[in-house]
Subunit: 745 residues, 2 copies
């Protein structure tokens, strides 16, 4: 089947720029802090083949192009078809497109664009002393996805939409009632000077409630005149015109300035190129996250109806993970977690859907893991990994954060383990090399990753004082894992050679040399880290060395990652559990972000029962507060609107944040107990743990389909369509899984 | 004055893609062999200032943008104005533009965009353990040129145009007459299959003669139906429908397909995105180089008039170089050389205007030098240097050619010497560093630049066998000069510190360390090169070492560059002249490209009289053949249409090629004898040499205006408005130049 092809990574870089630039802060666009890359503007696609008979091909192209048959340029003069004579041939097409990735679609009887075509951004022709032309470019398999029709090129890509209508509407007077200030800080039609003064209004408006957190495009039918729109994840936010995080102004056609874009009878106020103008690609209001929308109508203006177009990444529920158990609260937590994941699974995995709206590597690696237990949307994982990495040269850590660089490496290994997709590892490996070169080029004299002046050392948002400068044990553990990941990927690529490696491919010898080099680096680093940070008296990893002096602080971070990443021996893990993880003297973790790893560490030590209690308290607590999706942060000690505030802003907290959904991962991974042992679930284990439940039942998606697990207090049933599975029962028995397998314990 | 600003180099990268992709080969577009880069798609512009009173600013922007005043994002909602209150402030605007370089224009009473604004593509914000945000981006002064009105943004840039009409028109029957074959190889409306078969036609048409070589856009008024257009630099080429290098098909509106672009009543056949479609930016026929145009009209078609829009880079003749002497032929050679330069001086310096149409570093460095003696278009020099270098990472030599990388470095030093523009050196220096890193990362075990499998070693087009693999002495001499250039630029930047260096600037210490490092590298390399290649018996630099063995070949290339680049002592220069340059046993140079350096070497040895003879023979020979511009190659032994052929194609030779114009440089540099001794002509010498002339008179442009020189057989008069000049008379006298200075010798 013919499909649109392009240079690997280009689609993600281009789409990522649109995605990340849709973030707004009170009507102003808000691009990322790091460099935004661009696709290769000129790409050559080629394919060699033999035809038994002449063949007509239809050519679709995003960009201007030329076509070379057997090294000879053809004059096509306005036609999008070409006839290839019978025989042995090579087609080369060079495509130039400044605006969106050069992409090609060729459809003939046998000649069709797909991933067997090669791509290069530089054919590097040169002519030797005998006048012979050489091409020494580096070629890679062309990228493709599901753009299988000529009329659906990659640049037209968008998520699915469906109409949602509000479930309620209140008439509101904003003059000091409802906790709303009687003024706004931006003028709608005044001079620039007025825009910054405080104008008193006596607005009245309507507050629409869409019933639960949602994401998409607000639509206003029959608008005459002008309205102001204030979005809220909470009722309070929508009504707080001064502090709500997102807002819009919309005018009906009769008031439109000549430079505005007319579409569907309404337009955004701002023409292209204007600050504050962050419209959707079709010129309408940009997408927003909200449950509530408060609309004020200017005097003399009116509209007929308000609804929204919900925007979502489609998935197949029959191929998705599931979880159901004897505890209704847990079931509800799983459902809300799944909805939180669905809202944040978009063109890329997004952290929070209201304010943040960028891709973040540390957040994304958790989304990937949850996704492997929910929708198994591997394309979104690949897109996000590619987008986060961007293009060379590397000028900063991923998202400028050192830990996020290390998570990025780990996410490739996770992806390979869950999917077995060695082709993606091969594609991304050169980008792993150059990112690791960047890391290795910035180590200190001891070979450790010490933050330089322009590195963000994140670790976690903590409320207690925590040193982030100097050499952090936490960062070294992640660094070690990144080096191990390089080694492992090089080994896997060495043992999966291509039958026909394209010109310029990395050789098997180079992979072998890399594997050895990274193995040595990882080993040497770990010896140093262990010697430096492992306190033999305290039986804990210490937090940091600053200016050559060991800091006395003990935190959970390095200790739990030493457990999860497999650096701590069983004995050390037990010591860490006792001395750190279960030690009330050690500062508590307060973000769902790091609770993900904390609860994972507890589960790995068999403490599923305690973890269930934590889940009921923490995530159940959010539900009790009325959450319809899980939050960026939750402190059970806070009350009322305190839950909405963060970053010093009254509605700064994201009420739909991917990292809030970790029960989706924990329940699949450590209760249903399903995990791959060999890449792509070629081998896997099911190690179910009930905790305090009476029964549970669920499914985990894999490349070959679902693995169903059902467990009661005395029986386990597992059913799967592929892979070599082993069931590890609570009594320690190991049972081979074959078809539907039942075990009574 | 307010002016449009952008990130340095972005305009050139973007414009370069348009420029280089305009090349066509018989109707098919022909992009370069090397990677085409892209502008930074998101750029932040900033400026700190203090206002005595509030000020309104108007904002123009290419791209979507936001505006931050004192760190706070503003909601502008469709306005392109903003009021800044009195006081101390900082403005930051972030602009996103995928399609053309993000560019900004701000115009207020005192706040205006110009080169005092800073730009970055990555503000690299990060948040420390105390929650404090840090920006650790690298900032540079924003780039600007002459886009001084809001309504003329950089993306609208185009050269000037004026109408030219043909001076003659012949009715031609193409059925075997006029040496034209009676067929063409491309169908105009047939199926793809027909397109490749040979279709016999009995066309008749009209041949238009524009009187001399020209460049621009053919225009056809009142076209009904369809015509086929064949361009020729010669009459023969235009009439040879099968082999002419460029051609077009044009249809009047009444026959236009729905996907064609309608403009001015005519359209190119090919819609956007179609092979063979290389229209101009306004959708009309793309620009072409030609003197003759042959037009065949389809049956039932007709048109009213043919003319062309000549396209050119404007210049001020009163500020240009000039040359006039007692020899009318030389004067004509100078004029035709100047016209050749004017035709190839465009958005960038182009090599040849018909076929080549890319920027080439080795060609460009000669254009720059000619330009310093003709129009002194320093902006075009800077644009071409930036465009050739492109963006990081460096993945190939400049134009894939090792020698062209080295010329690129040298061209920066030349530019600095002629202009004194240290700001440009500062801007480009980081790109020099990374390119030199690439070179140093590919040297062999002896530290020499040896061609790797994907390096093009060009040197020159030669008709004799010449080894290009192994270690070439020629390449090492260029490499040495590149290292010296790095040293010199680092020293100059060290001694020209900025008063207020933007955040992330290279420190004085780093410049000093660089200077020392490159000095050492250059010195060490030269010692090795001298030991290896200088044959103490033969008194010549040998050509190459291959597989550890000295090749016995002697060529002029390394020897003349050792002279010109100052590596050979005076004694060695005399030896080289005798043993190599004037030795008939050594293979002759046959391209104007290397004759540039050969004649320069002869002039430097005081052989102006012989060189005049060469100029009269060689360039005069082309004029005698009817040249209206100078050619890519000229062999006086060839006859008739042999002069038109090259690269195995009957019209492959460019009849308007920049490197053909070298008399413009030689006459200014070695006869008028004007050259800078200190950067920007702060100090300069005038060392006039008459050769066999009775008198000569001319002017050389400098940053402070023209230096006029007039010389007869007994008197020299020099007049200049600036700089510290010294006149060196034929009798060896050195006279300080002050105002109008006359010396009788």
């Amino acid at each position: 089947m013919a499909t649109w092809i392009w240079y690997p990574g280009d689609f993600e870089v281009w789409l990522g720029n649109r995605f990340n630039n849709r973030r707004t802060e009170r009507g102003a666009m808000f691009p990322p802090f790091w460099k935004q890359d661009s696709h290769w503007v000129t790409v050559e696609f080629s394919k060699a083949f033999t035809l038994e008979e002449a063949e007509d091909i239809a050519i679709g192209c995003e960009g201007r192009y030329n076509l070379m048959l057997d090294g000879k340029l053809q004059f096509l003069a306005g036609r999008n078809t070409f006839t290839i004579p019978a025989g042995e041939h090579k087609l080369n097409l060079k495509v130039w497109n400044q605006t969106s990735p050069p992409a090609l679609f060729i459809d003939g009887k046998t000649v069709k664009t797909d991933s067997t075509w090669l791509a290069t951004y530089e054919d590097k022709i040169w002519i030797d002393e005998n006048g012979v032309a050489h091409g020494s470019g580096i070629y890679v398999p062309a990228a493709s996805w599901n753009f299988d029709k000529m009329e659906t090129p990659p640049s037209n890509y968008q998520l699915e939409r469906k109409v949602q209508r509000p479930v309620g509407c209140d008439e509101i007077a904003t003059n000091g009632t409802e906790g709303v200030t009687g003024c706004d800080k931006f003028a709608t039609n005044g001079s620039a000077r007025e825009a910054r003064s405080t104008v008193a209004t006596n607005g009245t408006g309507r507050l629409y409630d869409f019933g639960k957190e949602t994401f998409g495009y607000l639509r206003v039918k029959g608008l005459k005149g002008r309205i102001r729109i204030y979005y809220g994840e909470s009722r309070e936010e929508a009504l707080d015109k001064e502090h709500c995080e997102t807002l819009d102004v919309m005018a009906g056609c009769d008031k439109v300035a000549t430079n505005g874009t007319k579409r569907n009878g309404t337009v955004r106020e701002a023409p292209n190129g204007t600050a504050g103008e962050v419209t959707n690609d079709d010129g309408q209001l940009g997408s927003k996250a909200f449950r509530y929308v408060y609309i004020e109508t200017e005097e003399g203006s009116r509209y007929d109806e308000v609804y929204m177009e919900y925007e979502y990444a489609p998935f197949d529920v029959d191929k998705s993970g599931s979880f159901c158990c004897s505890d209704g609260l847990l079931n509800q937590i799983w459902e809300v977690g799944a909805y939180t994941m669905d809202l944040t699974t978009r063109e890329f995995f997004m952290d929070g859907i209201k304010r943040d709206r960028w891709t973040w590597s540390g957040d994304a690696i958790q989304s990937y893991l949850m996704n492997y237990y929910l929708r198994f949307d591997t394309e979104c994982v690949k897109r996000t990994i590619r987008q986060l990495r961007g293009k060379d040269p590397v000028t900063a850590h991923v998202n400028t954060i050192m830990d996020y660089t290390f998570y990025w490496f780990k996410s490739v290994l996770d992806y390979y383990l869950y999917t077995g997709d060695i082709d993606f590892v091969r594609e991304i490996y050169p980008k792993m090399q150059t990112l690791m070169d960047y890391v290795l080029g910035r180590t200190n004299d001891d070979g450790m990753a010490e933050g330089q002046a322009d590195d963000w050392i994140f670790v976690d948002w903590v409320d207690f004082p925590m040193h982030k400068r100097g050499v952090l044990c936490f960062e070294q553990i992640l660094f070690c894992k990144a080096l191990e990941t390089m080694q492992r990927c090089a080994e896997e690529l060495r043992s999966h050679p291509l039958e026909q490696a394209p010109q310029g491919s990395i050789t098997d010898e180079a992979y072998a040399a890399d594997a050895e080099r990274y193995r040595e680096l990882a080993e040497q680093l770990w010896i140093k880290v262990k010697n430096l940070f492992w306190d033999k008296e305290k039986k804990t990893f210490m937090h940091a060395v600053e200016d050559g002096k060991m800091n006395e602080q003990v935190t959970k971070f390095p200790n739990m990652f030493a457990m999860i990443y497999g650096f701590a021996s069983e004995e050390e893990q037990r010591q860490i559990m006792e001395r750190v993880m279960l030690n009330p003297q050690v500062d508590a973790i307060t973000t769902p972000y790091m609770r993900f790893y904390e609860l994972e560490a507890l589960c790995r030590m068999g403490r599923q029962q305690e973890v269930l209690k934590e889940i009921r308290d923490y995530w159940g607590g959010m539900l009790a507060e009325g959450a319809t999706t899980f939050w960026e942060k939750y402190n059970p000690g806070e009350k009322g609107t305190e839950h909405l505030a963060m970053y010093g802003r009254p509605y700064g907290k994201s009420l739909c944040h991917a990292w809030g959904a970790s029960p989706v991962y924990l329940l699949g991974r450590y209760y249903l107990g399903v995990s791959p042992l060999a890449p792509g679930y070629a081998e896997y284990e099911v190690r179910p743990v009930l905790g305090d439940l009476q029964w549970m039942e669920g499914a985990v998606p894999t490349p070959f389909g679902l693995i169903h697990v059902k467990m009661t207090t005395d029986t386990i049933t597992v059913e799967a369509d592929g892979g070599k599975g082993i069931l590890i029962a609570p009594d320690g028995q190991r049972i081979d899984i074959q078809g539907k397998t039942t075990y009574h314990y």
